[in-house]
Amino acid sequence: MEKRKVKRKRRIVTHPENCSGCSACQLACSFLLTGVFNPLKAYIQINWSGDLDRCINFTDECTNCGACVKYCNYGALELEEYR
């Protein structure tokens, strides 16, 4: 029987409690998608409330490419595939 390709979808799962606020994900996103470094151009946004609480958001342009996940060294981002 011919194998049928199953199209997988991806999404990025966040663990803000692990985030160090380093912005490497934003630098990777802006560089790989726009060709220049600047966290304000990234499709992933790290927001700090005061010094302590971090929250990670994505803009509508995010394509779930996973560049940010690859550059996170803190386990704050995870690429999850689902059917």
Binding site: C22, A24, T34, G35, F37, L40, D51, Y71, N73
Partner: protein, 646 residues
């Protein structure tokens, strides 16, 4: 306008006296000769600051500098900062941070920011890409550094990064610092006072431009290789998590007497084994890690004290173990007590390190009856938290004895007189981090001289170990040191002078460490071993060319480091610094150091003198004065500077 890679391509000039703002293109020739960051800033400061000026006068200049690597995702290069003439030492000062406004300054289009003059009233410099405004900031004058950062962001928006001074800088405390983004500290030697003297309360920056690099694919490949190496390093866990570095690194240094307490009076072995342990740190004050900009390591921490006599709300501390622990120097009895003065230093914008050394100096003088109770405004000075907190308030507000201590150890010693100068421990006016009477192991008695503690004597900023960072702080076999020298690009003829079969020559190696470190630090590299271990002179040259599109050979990179180092040396020479200013503090050469039950002898003056002579010879500096010779300056391509040397 030409295209720049790595560099943003512009220098911004701001004159606070006339409100004139001028933007000019970065000089590519200067970039190749001085690389960037503190390298180019040092050259600009040398050219712009007239010798002999008062550091707190409008004539002094603040030069902000950011390297071509900073603001990219190349791991390990987050650091940026300022150069000026120090009010504490009267000499060259450079201080930098990994969470500075530097990257944002580049995104706004500027590699360097030059601030001259003095505003009539308090101002905030607001940079929004090409729009540069000098705005009134009288409403923020008097606010602490946290309040100032929050006020700016609530007014201008969260996209702005902030740099500001607190009451320390406003009141011209000689060791006031600049605090950036609420936690990055340009801490040492008084940049905050220079900003205060200019009525510059704050800088706010927003930039929406981008930084690009010349060889994008190669740059990405190298960044990923290095990121991978760092991620696998066992040192990451040690530096990031729950203060594990304390037992591995801080404790042995205290046990060896390299770090010590009570005005360089004794080592601290019992405190380290029983009270200031990693376990106590993790259980009492550590809350979470955080990182410098773009850094995969995350060695910073959020700390706080819940309840007790000295509660402190959680806050970001760039040296979370070092700073609270440092206050054992003057009597904090556990971690909980150490956090409060560390927090106040950040809040008021004063260099925690210099503050505790000054306080320690004052308590020592009181104990020795050089200072009386009356001198101390009626207070009894003792090794305890009460004295620390009392003196911090007095220093920041220049109240009573605080007005004298706010001048720093050197000048306070002079003003107090009555023999106080003998106990004033400083190198060029800055309190050293490491003692020269420390030993190789906790059981050894002989002083162990290594690149870092001897390097403090030659640092143009004064006594700080951070400018001469090497692999020698841990005793190693000669072959290991030889491999390290090769990785820095030390030329063969110098290798012959440095190494024999079984030994290595410290001052001659130190000269090359200073050239190499000045090169990598000018490019924004962090001094942590897990970062520095990834870079040698060859991949630094590769990185420079793939980032900027300009070719520099490994040898030219190392030479650029030497050129910057010599420029900083010339800055000091022009202010009158000579060989005697490279000598260790009197106390370290005359008093032994008690470490636990043992006593380490004082540093030997003759040995230090010999080391200086060899260092000068290796550097091409005049042996009598320590000033770079004409020939050396011409060799380094500093012809204009050579003309001014006698």
């Amino acid at each position: 306008m030409m295209s720049y890679y790595g560099y943003a391509g512009n220098v911004l000039h701001v004159d606070l006296t006339t409100n004139a703002v001028k933007k000019e293109e970065l000089d590519v020739g200067m970039a190749k000769k001085f690389l960037g960051g503190q390298g180019i800033s040092s050259k600009l400061a040398y050219d712009l600051i007239k010798p002999g000026i008062d550091p707190l006068s409008p004539e002094n200049v603040l030069v902000y500098g950011v390297s071509p690597f900073t603001g990219t995702f190349m791991p390990g290069f987050p650091r940026a900062g300022m150069v000026s003439k120090s009010p504490l030492t009267g000499l060259f000062v450079e201080s930098n941070s990994g969470n500075s406004i530097g990257p944002m300054l580049k995104y706004a289009g500027y590699d360097h920011l030059i601030i001259t003059g003095r505003a009539k009233n308090p101002v905030c410099l607001v940079i929004n890409n090409d729009d540069v405004e000098i705005k009134g900031a009288s409403d923020m004058w008097g606010m602490d550094t946290f309040e100032t950062a929050d006020a700016i962001r609530s007014k201008l928006g969260d996209e702005y990064w902030t740099s500001c001074i607190g009451p320390g800088g406003e009141n011209l405390v000689s060791f006031a610092c600049v605090i950036e983004n609420r936690n990055g500290m340009l801490s040492r030697a008084g940049l905050g006072a220079v900003a205060g003297s200019k009525n510059l309360k704050a800088i706010a920056v927003r930039g929406t431009k981008g930084i690009t690099v010349y060889e994008r694919r190669e740059f990405r490949k190298l960044a990923e290789e290095i990121r991978e190496k760092i991620a696998k390093s066992p040192l990451i866990d040690l530096w990031r998590n729950r203060g594990k570095i304390i037992d591995a690194y801080m404790k042995p240094f205290y046990q060896r007497g390299i770090y010590n307490k009570r005005n360089y009076g004794e080592g601290a072995p019992e405190s380290c084994t029983q009270v200031f342990t990693q376990r106590e740190f993790a259980e009492h004050i550590w809350k979470s890690y955080y990182a410098c900009f773009g850094c995969p390591c995350g060695c910073k921490a959020i700390i706080g004290v819940d309840g007790g006599e000295y509660p402190v709300q959680d806050f970001k501390m760039s040296n979370p173990w070092g700073t609270p622990m440092l206050f054992i120097e003057c009597g904090a009895k556990d971690w909980d007590e150490g956090v409060k003065p560390a927090y106040l230093s950040s809040k008021y914008g004063i260099d925690a390190f210099e503050t505790l050394r000054v306080i320690s100096f004052a308590i020592d003088l009181y104990k020795k009856r050089v200072l009386s109770r009356e001198d101390a405004d009626g207070a009894e000075l003792d090794w305890n938290i009460g004295t620390i907190l009392n003196l911090i308030e007095k220093i920041v507000h220049k109240d009573g004895i605080g007005a004298i201590l706010a001048k720093g150890i050197k000048d306070a010693g002079k003003e107090i007189g009555r023999g106080a100068e003998r106990y004033a421990v400083h190198i060029k006016g800055l309190a050293p981090t490491m003692d020269l009477r420390g030993s190789r192991t906790p059981d050894d008695r002989e002083p162990y001289l290594f690149v870092e503690n001897v390097g403090q004597l030659l640092d143009p900023r004064g006594g700080h170990h951070g400018r001469s960072w090497s692999t020698t702080y841990v005793p190693r076999k000669v072959d290991s040191i030889k491999r390290y020298a090769v990785s820095m690009g030390v030329p063969d003829e110098a290798m012959g002078r440095i190494f024999s079969e079984s030994q290595w020559n410290l001052p001659r190696l130190l000269k090359w460490v200073d050239d190499f470190d000045t090169m990598v630090f000018s490019l924004g590299l962090c001094m942590r071993p897990q970062m520095m271990a990834n870079f040698d002179v060859n991949n630094m040259a590769t990185l420079y060319s793939i980032t900027t599109g300009m070719e520099l050979s490994p040898q030219e990179m190392l030479e650029a480091g030497g050129r910057i180092w010599n420029t900083q040396r010339l800055f000091n020479a022009r202010e009158g610094a000579t060989r005697k200013d490279d000598m260790p503090p009197y106390k370290m050469m005359t008093e032994p150091l008690r470490v636990g039950g043992n006593v380490n002898p004082p540093a030997k003056e003759g040995e230090i003198q010999d080391m200086l002579s060899e260092y000068y010879e290796e550097s091409g500096w005049d042996k009598a004065t320590g000033i770079p010779t004409k020939e050396k300056l011409v060799e380094l391509g500093l012809e204009d500077e050579a003309k001014r040397v006698a």
